[in-house]
């Protein structure tokens, strides 16, 4: 029943052959050498310092949600960098290739610019997939992983082992797409794929197969993660954390993961059906034999649109934590904030058609989806107003985390308004598939990136016990913003001038100045990447001076700020009893910040396990085997996976117990390690709003105190 392959195939190696390794490619070959050398250096270094045992014990086998979160974030940052390099290559290609002449570099096999069209196609396809699913998603999942259990007073996620499994399966997807650089090639059909070009007849190589299996793996990892998040929030809340006391970030995590749980199966099915077409010769999306091309587009965007809200909702949540902290006010309109999140999640399911108005569904269908799309603007607008009102008459501190969040609001505004324009079919017919659309969604996705940087700066001290360097955080912000402005505003212009997306050869010479400006923007982005690396370096170097106490910012609000920084592996020595939505602020204002538990109880913690990373590795092998059609390898890895799972289920995990005495001792040590918070208090200007600020003596109610209690100093 298997299809006839174009080209050779052998039972042992499938389609794999030496000729599949692009060692003559002038870009990939040196890159390969560099990566191999770097890899060897890394291995040698780790061996030399004898860190393998540490890595294995503390990281690779861990089930601790914070460490898994950190690894998710590292993975996400690495892929953000890889995606950025893709972007840099595309921008450079267009800048070089623009115009009507033959200005290409024959050495590279290009008639225009320096990239051959086939190579260019792979770059934009990989760029899109990587940025949305392997950069943004792991970054957000990583931050949720760290923060959600802390915000609800849990010791870990509901299923720590499943959590590790999710990480390692995502890592398998990352490895699969990275290896496509050096073994075979990647899809050139865009990140969402076009029917029927991805059918075997038109894309005979392995590129589309890499694309399918990478996506299937992330989809699997993310679905597992979403089950875990939902169970954690529903079942693991500490006493007192009622539904109306959940911090907004946790709420957005809930709404986002509901989206993920319900939408990712659509993607899995859509791609499995593409796989069936390519591997089994079925006719789901073929142009003949009763297949239906539009079915694919519908199924993909049925997932695709909810997915974009899956990534933006947690970003909204992060902004909702940062802004109140640095405005010294509770979030404005908590209830509407929560409702808006769920409204967005709900509406995100009934708008997918706006991605292909031009396919032509007739006026009634288009109108319905146009109106539904515009509806999303209402809850989104509610959120923007709520953030604005939170800042209004607040005591603002423009710390680096805060300015990243405020930057995110501007991008959201531009992205949202251009989205509104796109949701009108009459306009959409004009600009669909132009770079105007590309600029729209980059505004949105950059809004997420801004929120993520804001969140990283904001929660970094909680996880590592010291703050990142403020000045460099701000320098990076301004560089990054300048880059954003220089790259994407020309893109809107080019969209209006009629440039369609994904051009390896932009023929119109009038576009040239805009491409040049964009290239400058990319250079500025490069500077911001360097600033980021420097930021990390400086912060680690000066960490001793930047140690923080539990309440790292002095004005923090939610529950995670009452436990020590860095968070001990058990999160809370005693499970807290929560009295208020903004528990940390509440304790601080009532002078309880310094109170530590007096009684301790034994706790039960899960053991580390190598099973998750082993299964992750096996799923990579399955993906690789399927891509290259090495059937014996695929089947063997699959059977092994099942056996490992059965083995693990038989063995179970009894966990281990920390006794009350040990706990007390650890709590004491953790406290001694922690700096007693000489973190300078923010010197906010502005007004003291009516009911709001943290240290206000003016309000004059009996509960408030004129000097801030605990480990903080009064405002000067």
């Amino acid at each position: 029943m298997l299809v006839n392959l174009p080209g050779p195939w052998s039972p042992l190696l499938g389609r794999l052959a030496l000729s599949e390794i692009p060692y003559t490619n002038p870009i990939l070959a040196p890159l390969f050498v560099i990566i191999v050398l770097a890899g060897i250096a890394l291995v040698v270094g780790i061996t030399y310092y004898g860190k393998w045992g540490y890595l294995w014990k503390e990281w690779f086998t861990t089930v601790d949600h914070k460490k898994l979160g950190i690894m998710y974030i590292i993975l996400g940052l690495i892929m953000l960098f890889r995606g950025f390099i893709d972007g840099l290559m595309m921008r450079t290609q267009q800048m070089l290739a623009v115009g009507s002449g033959h200005n290409g570099m024959p050495l590279m096999g290009a008639i225009h610019g320096y990239l051959a069209p086939f190579h260019f196609g792979q770059i934009y396809s990989a760029h899109g997939l990587i940025m949305i699913l392997l950069a943004a998603t792991p970054l957000l999942v990583g931050i949720m992983n760290i923060i959600v259990p802390l915000q609800i007073g849990a010791r870990d996620m509901a299923y720590p082992y499943l959590n590790a499994l999710g990480l390692w399966i995502t890592a398998a997807a990352v490895f699969l797409i990275m290896i496509s650089l050096f073994v075979g090639d990647f899809s050139h059909n865009g990140w969402f794929g076009y029917a029927p070009i991805f059918e075997l007849a038109y894309s005979p190589g392995v590129g589309v197969d890499y694309w399918i299996w990478t996506l299937e793996l992330v989809a699997l990892g993310t679905t597992l993660g979403s089950i875990n998040f939902l169970a954690t929030v529903v079942k693991m809340r500490a006493p007192g954390v009622t539904w109306t006391r959940l911090p907004v970030f946790t709420w957005t995590a809930v709404s986002a993961n509901i989206i993920a749980l319900t939408s990712f199966p659509c993607l899995q099915v859509a791609l499995a059906l593409v796989g069936a077409d390519r591997y089994l010769g079925t006719h789901f999306f073929t142009a003949g034999f009763g297949g239906n091309l539009m079915l694919y587009t519908n199924l993909f965007w049925l997932w695709g649109h909810p997915e974009v809200y899956f990534v933006i909702l947690p970003a909204f949540g992060m902004i909702s934590e940062v802004i109140p902290t640095f405005s010294e006010k509770p979030i404005f309109g908590y209830i509407t904030m929560v409702l808006a999140s769920f409204a967005i999640a709900g509406v995100s399911w009934i708008v997918w058609l706006h991605h292909f108005f031009t396919m032509g569904m007739g006026p009634y269908v288009s109108t319905e989806f146009s109106v539904a799309t515009m509806l999303v603007g209402i809850p989104t607008g509610v959120k923007v107003f709520n953030w604005t009102f939170t800042m209004y008459r607040g005591r603002l501190t423009f710390s680096s985390a805060m300015i990243w969040s405020i930057g995110a609001l501007f991008l959201l505004l531009i992205g949202g308004l251009t989205g509104m324009m796109l949701s009108i079919p009459a306009i959409n017919y004009m600009v669909h598939n132009s770079v105007f659309v590309v600029a729209h969604f980059h505004m949105m996705l950059l809004c997420i990136v801004y929120a993520v940087f804001s969140a990283i700066i904001f929660w970094f001290p909680k996880v590592f016990g010291f703050k990142l360097n403020e000045a460099w955080g701000k320098i990076m912000f301004w560089l990054f913003s300048a880059g954003t402005f220089l790259v994407f505003f020309p893109m809107f212009m080019l969209g209006f001038m009629g440039e369609t997306r994904r051009l390896d050869w932009p023929f119109n010479l009038q576009w040239a100045p805009w491409f040049d400006i964009q290239e400058v923007g990319i250079a500025v982005y490069v500077l911001s990447v360097l600033a980021f690396l420097w930021l990390i370096y400086v912060s680690i170097r000066d960490r001793a001076e930047n140690r923080v106490g539990a309440d790292a910012w002095g004005t923090s609000r939610s529950l995670e700020w009452i436990t020590d920084s860095p968070v001990p592996f058990y999160n809370f020595a005693m499970v807290p009893h929560v009295n208020h939505r903004d528990e940390a602020a509440w304790r601080r204002e009532h002078g309880f910040s310094d109170k530590r538990p007096e009684k301790f109880a034994a706790i039960h913690m899960p053991n580390n396990t190598p099973v998750a990373i082993v299964i992750g590795a096996l799923t990579f092998v399955i993906g690789f085997g399927l891509t290259w059609r090495i059937w014996w390898l695929t089947v063997a890895a699959l059977v092994l996976t099942v056996l490992v799972m059965i083995y693990r289920s038989g063995k179970g995990d009894p966990g281990y117990i920390i006794t009350a005495e040990e706990m007390e001792k650890m709590d004491r040590e953790s406290r001694q390690k922690m700096d007693d918070g000489h973190a300078p208090l923010p010197k906010g200007g502005g007004y003291t709003g009516g009911t709001v600020t943290a240290y206000s003596a003016e309000v004059g109610d009996p509960g408030s105190q004129s000097t801030p209690p605990g480990n903080s100093r009064p405002l000067s």
């Binding site: 029943m1 509901a158 299923y159 679905t223 089950i227 875990n228 939902l230 169970a231 079942k235 693991m236 500490a238 007192g240 749980l261 319900t262 199966p265 659509c266 899995q268 099915v269 859509a270 059906l273 069936a276 089994l280 010769g281 006719h283 789901f284 073929t286 003949g288 034999f289 009763g290 297949g291 239906n292 079915l295 519908n298 199924l299 049925l302 006010k329 509770p330 609000r557 005693m574 499970v575 807290p576 009893h577 009295n579 304790r587 204002e589 009532h590 002078g591 309880f592 538990p597 009684k599 109880a601 039960h604 059965i646 289920s649 038989g650 009911t691 309000v699 109610d701 509960g703 408030s704």
Partner: protein
């Protein structure tokens, strides 16, 4: 109202730590998570149904046969009964667990497995019959969707059978530990859910297909 400090709080009365918190209930947490999985599995079937719906117009079958020409609703009815009885047997097994009867549980699961195997056996036989008639997934988009929907369901049943086998072993080896009981509950949800999905498949694919 929005202020964090509206009421004075007595520092001696305030409860900051949950001294007598027992921790969460392991089985109910596990069951909740499994419900979530069922939800995503439901979406998976929903998507396959959508694909089937789109690919069941007469032109979807190209020039090949339509379900009316090859499905055998009475034959499939036997499959339906086998699956229902299997669910029933599993139900008996879970009822026996309440009384702590190991033998009852094991008998129930074995019966459930046998009936599930009958279901799979009939399915394989049916597929072979159709293939011998030239009804294969490569013939047309419509047949591709037909096979996708029915065989993804069969694959779920197959996984369920392996799971039952594993559970038999674990019951014998460990008895009714918290883990084992939790897994048996999840398996029940899984098994019943597959039966529900089968009802839809039977009605919309086999009966409807036969009549149209």
């Amino acid at each position: 109202m929005s202020s964090a400090h509206e009421k004075p709080v007595d520092p001696d009365q305030v409860v900051l730590w949950s001294d007598d918190y027992e921790g969460h209930d392991v089985i109910s947490t596990r069951t909740f998570g499994f419900w979530m999985y069922i939800l995503s599995d439901g979406m998976l079937f929903a998507t396959l149904f959508a694909a089937y719906g789109v690919l069941s117009y007469s032109h979807s079958y190209y020039t090949g046969p339509t379900p009316a020409q090859f499905v055998a609703p009475w034959y499939t009815f036997i499959q339906t009964m086998a699956l229902f009885l299997s669910v029933l047997a599993y139900g008996f097994s879970m009822a026996a667990m309440k009384t702590g009867s190991k033998a009852g549980v094991i008998n129930g699961i074995v019966a459930s497995m046998v009936l599930g195997a009958v279901f799979i056996g009939l399915d394989i036989h049916d597929v072979l019959r159709m293939i011998s008639m030239g009804v294969t997934p490569e013939v047309s988009g419509g047949l591709s969707a037909f096979y996708a929907l029915t065989q993804v369901h069969a694959a779920h049943i197959f996984v369920g059978l392996i799971w039952m086998l594993v559970m038999l072993y674990q019951i014998l080896k460990k008895g009714f530990t918290e883990d084992v009981v939790g897994r048996l509950i999840s398996l029940r949800m899984f098994w019943q859910f597959q039966a529900v999905m089968w009802v839809f498949i039977y009605v919309f694919v086999y009966l409807w297909g036969y009549m149209s």
